[in-house]
């Protein structure tokens, strides 16, 4: 489909609307004979680097009719053999190329169809969308961090080990825990790390257990991770104050329970006031305590999870420590451990030995870390996220990080109290919230839902809040403003939210049409799932597949 076909009532020839520019797919504008990259003439050979032969005239396996790659004359330098074992790629691959200006324009136009923190408030609850300082980007791109190989000899990467070690020390100090595993690649990978350590510890004591208890308000990753490791998952209920039902939890503890996974602050945006008692009860029953640290931003510098009896907790560097979310990653999920779990933490890790830093791997672990559950990823973790997170941490310092949680919680409570007269805040009566405010759809007019309010926010120029999560609240709306929003922004957001809530309560059906000002109207997700189209096909081929 060309951009000209989709005028859709805008009345323009192109279908574009001033700064709102449609952009076709690369497969519709590029071809396999175009490239935006030049290659050097190979010194000493007097010619360029083209040369893999393709069988002429054959159509691509994907049906492209574009010009085929033209082989250059002449054999490779010196050696007559190609060493490819007769496996030269002869058939066209079907990868379109664009010249550099076309490529820059393609992706710039695409970028403008995205909402982003740089554009405005992005209050996704439990996602901690805060400002991403550009200093962190600059530091991550220093050649001494960006252009080093993970298998370089240790003597040539002492600064890299030093950085990993320093960030690890900060995380240990901020959480009051005993050790840290830096290699997990994201939050869910951190959960996996924590559960593997727990399982290894229980097996080491000859007491392999089979059940993990997870509150019903937990992130979906918690039960998924437990199942991934082979545990059976059981749910524990919340009380009327939105917290873990302590008595129900105690009642379920027993010799088959390996661990509980608790999110604290929890996904209702509330601190678990019984956390110490929960930990004590779990420990008394022979289990261990995993804390999902996704919401650490609310408490950094205010309380140390180590003081709450926790055995393992992951920290999303892409939340609390502001490494960019990048449209869905990469993240980083270091895990801090209690003394009890430290011997079981994964390999590799960086250790300070005198003035030097060493990487403890399988080879050297035997001496003092023989109980480790092993390696969970190639190489040593998300270095590019470590540099950014440390730049962020050093910028804030101990005083600034305490201010971060203070402002994050202040902003969330400001939103809670500005809206709870109009909207149902199911736990608003139980006291202050932490970093996010939770509302339900109670009182909305006939047929109007949380989704409609969310789409209305898009028209108002905001990214919607998290919708329909946590599952314990009907039509949940979870709003996390973070500390990097000004009062003026919050006031504007509150104004927009109030206006939409009033429309929803009044049964204003026009909300069902929202968004009307976005690059797209509501998208048909049912069709997408019923007849999945996951790759682009030539129109003729796509038709044949019908």
């Amino acid at each position: 489909m060309g951009s000209g076909e989709s005028a859709g009532g805008t009345g323009t020839f192109t279908g574009n609307r001033a700064l709102m520019l449609e952009e076709p797919l690369i497969f519709e504008i590029g071809d396999s004979s175009t490239t935006g990259v030049d290659f050097d003439i190979l010194p000493g050979t007097g010619r360029g680097t083209a040369g893999t032969a393709v069988e002429g005239g054959e159509r691509s396996e994907h049906g492209e009719a574009g010009p085929l790659h033209q082989p250059a004359a002449g054999p490779p330098p010196r050696s007559g053999e190609d060493k490819l074992g007769g496996l030269q790629r002869r058939r066209p691959i079907g990868l379109p190329g664009l010249s550099e200006p076309q490529a820059v324009r393609h992706y710039t136009r695409l970028s403008r169809q995205n909402y982003a923190i740089d554009l405005g408030l992005f209050p996704l609850g439990s996602c901690t969308m805060k400002h991403n300082p550009r200093l962190c980007e600059k530091v991550a791109r220093m050649p001494g961090f960006a252009d080093i190989h993970p298998l370089q000899p240790a003597d040539t990467v002492q600064g890299a080990f030093q950085l990993i070690h320093k960030l690890g020390e900060w995380l240990i100090r901020l959480t009051g825990m005993h050790s840290v595993a830096m290699s997990p690649k994201a939050g869910a990978h951190g959960e996996l790390c924590g559960l593997l350590a727990i399982r290894a510890a229980l097996e080491a004591r000859g007491d392999a257990r089979e059940v993990i208890l997870v509150p019903e308000s937990a992130h979906g990753t918690n039960p998924a991770t437990a199942a991934f490791v082979g545990y059976r998952v059981e749910s524990i209920p919340a009380n009327e104050r939105g917290r873990v039902d302590l008595e129900a939890l105690k009642g379920r503890l027993g010799p088959d329970v390996a661990a509980v996974m608790i999110t604290n602050p929890n996904t209702c945006g509330l601190f678990e006031p019984d956390m110490i008692e929960i930990s004590e009860a779990v420990h008394a029953a022979g289990g261990l305590v995993y804390c999902d640290g996704a919401n650490f931003n609310a408490i950094v510098g205010r309380v140390k999870p180590g003081d709450l009896g926790i055995d393992a907790m992951h920290i999303n560097l892409h939340k609390t420590f502001s490494t960019p979310h990048g449209g869905g990653g990469p993240g980083a999920g270091p895990v801090v451990f209690s003394e009890a779990l430290t011997p079981f933490a994964p390999l590799p890790f960086v250790e300070k030995q005198g003035d030097q830093f060493a990487l403890v791997e399988e080879e050297t672990a035997g001496e003092h870390h023989g109980s480790s559950f092993g390696r969970m990823v190639a190489f040593h973790g998300q270095m590019g996220m470590f540099t950014r997170a440390l730049a962020y941490i050093l910028s804030h310092g101990a005083d600034g990080l305490r201010q971060v949680s203070g402002d994050a919680v202040l902003n969330a409570n400001y939103i809670l109290r500005a809206l709870d007269g109009l909207l149902d805040a199911p736990f608003g009566h139980s006291g202050p919230c932490m970093h996010e405010a939770l509302f339900s759809d109670k009182g909305f007019g006939e047929g109007l839902t949380t989704l409609d309010l969310a789409k209305g926010l898009i028209d108002e120029g905001f990214h919607p809040m998290t919708m329909y999560f946590p599952l314990v609240v009907h039509g949940a709306m979870l709003v996390e403003p973070t500390e990097t929003e000004s009062k003026a922004t919050l006031d504007q957001f509150i104004g927009a939210f109030r206006s939409l809530a009033e429309r929803a309560k009044a049964g204003d059906q026009s909300l069902k049409a929202a968004p009307v000002h976005a690059p797209r109207r509501r998208l048909d997700e049912t069709q997408a799932a019923r007849k999945p189209v996951l790759v682009w096909k030539e129109p003729a081929e796509a038709e044949a597949a019908e």
């Binding site: 690369i26 590029g30 004979s33 175009t34 490239t35 935006g36 050097d40 396996e61 490819l84 990868l95 379109p96 490529a103 820059v104 710039t108 695409l110 909402y115 923190i117 740089d118 992005f122 980007e137 220093m142 961090f145 252009d147 370089q152 000899p153 600064g159 990978h189 593997l196 199942a227 110490i276 309380v303 140390k304 003081d307 869905g328 990469p330 994964p346 399988e362 390696r375 969970m376 990823v377 998300q382 590019g384 730049a391 050093l394 101990a398 005083d399 600034g400 305490r402 402002d407 409570n413 202050p432 990214h463 968004p515 797209r520 109207r521 509501r522 999945p532 189209v533 996951l534 790759v535």
Partner: protein, 452 residues
């Protein structure tokens, strides 16, 4: 504090609205004994941009930068030239500072880019479909083994001796807890990969054979027969590609019958970054899509009939299916996938083939030059941009000595397989388009002198 916009009067006014006397009061639910009354002691206070840059710059300068030395390391991470526009585009705030595209009406940029990425990966791998990325190659490899178990309902995976040892270790860690059985073996310094032995090992309990292409020693083998034998026994063929540039020169795994193809995408667009973040690629046949892990972007239409894209088939995923999900993965490598896709779009098929040629020509030259050194032997019969040398003595100290002379001369097999005497003389040398003739001469000179 430059990242915090609230002023003291703002805070006071907001507290009045809330009805709290102080910010501390908002933390009333934190048990009093655990509540900190002030900042954590013993840690430094906030710092200026200049100070932070200075401190981290000093650490960066302690490292020997790949671009400033003759550089020949590979084994799962490769140094390629990345066009300047790639890094510019991924730093567009609308890409960099957006979230997972849960609100598709205002995330079409990310969603369309992911749809294009999925198509590029599927075509590169010769598969029907690809997902929107995994963490990296090693975790994607384990996910492929788990997926093969779900599809075949069998629990034994046979891992090629040519599979990256870190990938093997990751699988071993997971298998210990999931109950999967893994058959693994050490590589041998032979000219050809272990395809024949893998064929021999397949039985009726085999869920999948996992083979790396090119393998850890750089060898390239035809996988067609292996695929047929797998299918004949009701098993799947999983192919792992750690160097995607190779697929600009050699046949795709899908073409040879692979059922699941996974790999590391770092070579295209991402950079070395000391091991992460990287981007896991994951592709398979149409019929297995619902067993696939990870996010998927799919095409649909909006209320006005305009084409658009959404995340789809999420009933496989943890946020919907919880403990019944195909994987626990949530955040993936979105921005690295974007970098991969932009670089691939700049290359196009023509550029990818030229890039592959530039790599293998330089590698051919280096192999020829280095194997002429006295006592040094080229192990490989086949290779793309990476090959293994057998040195007349243990390679690991040689690599360290070369590094002291400012030459990053390769990865010793002693580093990857510590304590394995049969491999300790092996040196894996990767040669990409970033290597110059002068670099090859420097490596030959350093290696020659040290071995003399």
């Amino acid at each position: 504090m430059r990242y915090l916009p609230l002023t003291e009067p703002d805070r006071n006014e907001m507290l009045r609205t809330i009805g709290a006397a102080s910010v501390e009061e908002l933390f009333v639910d934190v048990p009093e004994g655990a509540r900190l009354s002030g900042k954590i002691e013993g840690l430094p206070d906030h710092a200026s941009e200049l100070a932070v840059e200075r401190e981290l710059g000093a650490m960066a300068r302690r490292n020997l930068v790949a671009g400033e030395a003759p550089f020949f390391l590979g084994c799962g991470a490769y140094r390629h030239h990345i066009p300047a526009s790639v890094d510019h585009l991924i730093q567009r705030g609308e890409f960099l500072t957006s979230y997972t595209p849960y609100q598709p009406e205002i995330a079409q940029g990310t969603l369309q880019a992911l749809f294009e990425f999925q198509t590029q990966v599927a075509r590169l791998y010769g598969c029907d479909v690809a997902n929107a990325s995994m963490y990296d190659g090693s975790t994607a490899c384990w996910e492929a083994i788990g997926m093969a178990r779900r599809i075949t309902r069998r629990g034994k995976a046979i891992l090629s001796s040519g599979l990256h040892p870190h990938y093997v270790l990751v699988a071993k860690t997971m298998a210990r807890f999931t109950g999967d059985r893994l058959e693994t073996r050490l590589p041998e310094l032979t000219p050809e990969p272990d395809t024949a032995a893998l064929i021999e090992a397949i039985d009726q309990e085999t869920s999948c054979v996992v083979v790396q292409y090119p393998d850890i020693l750089g060898r390239i083998g035809d996988l067609s027969e292996l695929a047929e034998r797998c299918h004949g026994a009701g098993a799947l063929l999983v192919v792992v590609v750690t160097e995607p540039v190779a697929l600009g020169a050699i046949r795709s795994p899908g073409e040879m019958g692979a059922d699941i193809v996974v790999g590391e995408g770092q070579s295209i667009g991402v950079g070395l970054n000391f091991g992460g973040p990287y981007v896991g690629l994951f592709a398979t046949r149409d019929k297995y899509v619902r067993q696939m892990p990870g996010r998927l972007a799919g095409e649909t239409v909006d209320a006005e009939g305009k084409r658009g894209f959404v995340l789809t088939l999420s009933t496989r995923e943890q946020h919907i299916r919880r403990e019944k999900a195909t994987s626990n993965i949530c955040t993936n490598s979105g921005l690295c996938a974007l970098a991969f896709s932009i670089h691939m779009t700049l290359l196009g098929e023509k550029g990818l083939r030229q890039l592959a040629d530039a790599n293998r020509y330089m590698a051919l030259e280096a192999a020829e030059r280095l194997s002429r050194l006295p006592g040094v032997e080229l192990v490989n019969e086949t290779f793309f941009n990476e090959f293994t040398l057998r040195l007349p003595r243990e390679a690991r100290p040689v690599v360290r000595t070369m590094a002291e002379r400012g030459v990053l001369g390769g990865v010793s097999l002693g580093r990857l397989y510590p304590g394995e005497a049969s491999l300790e003389n092996g040196l894996v040398v990767a040669v990409t388009e970033t290597v110059t003739h002068g670099d090859i001469a420097a490596l030959a000179a350093a290696l020659g002198e040290i071995l003399a």
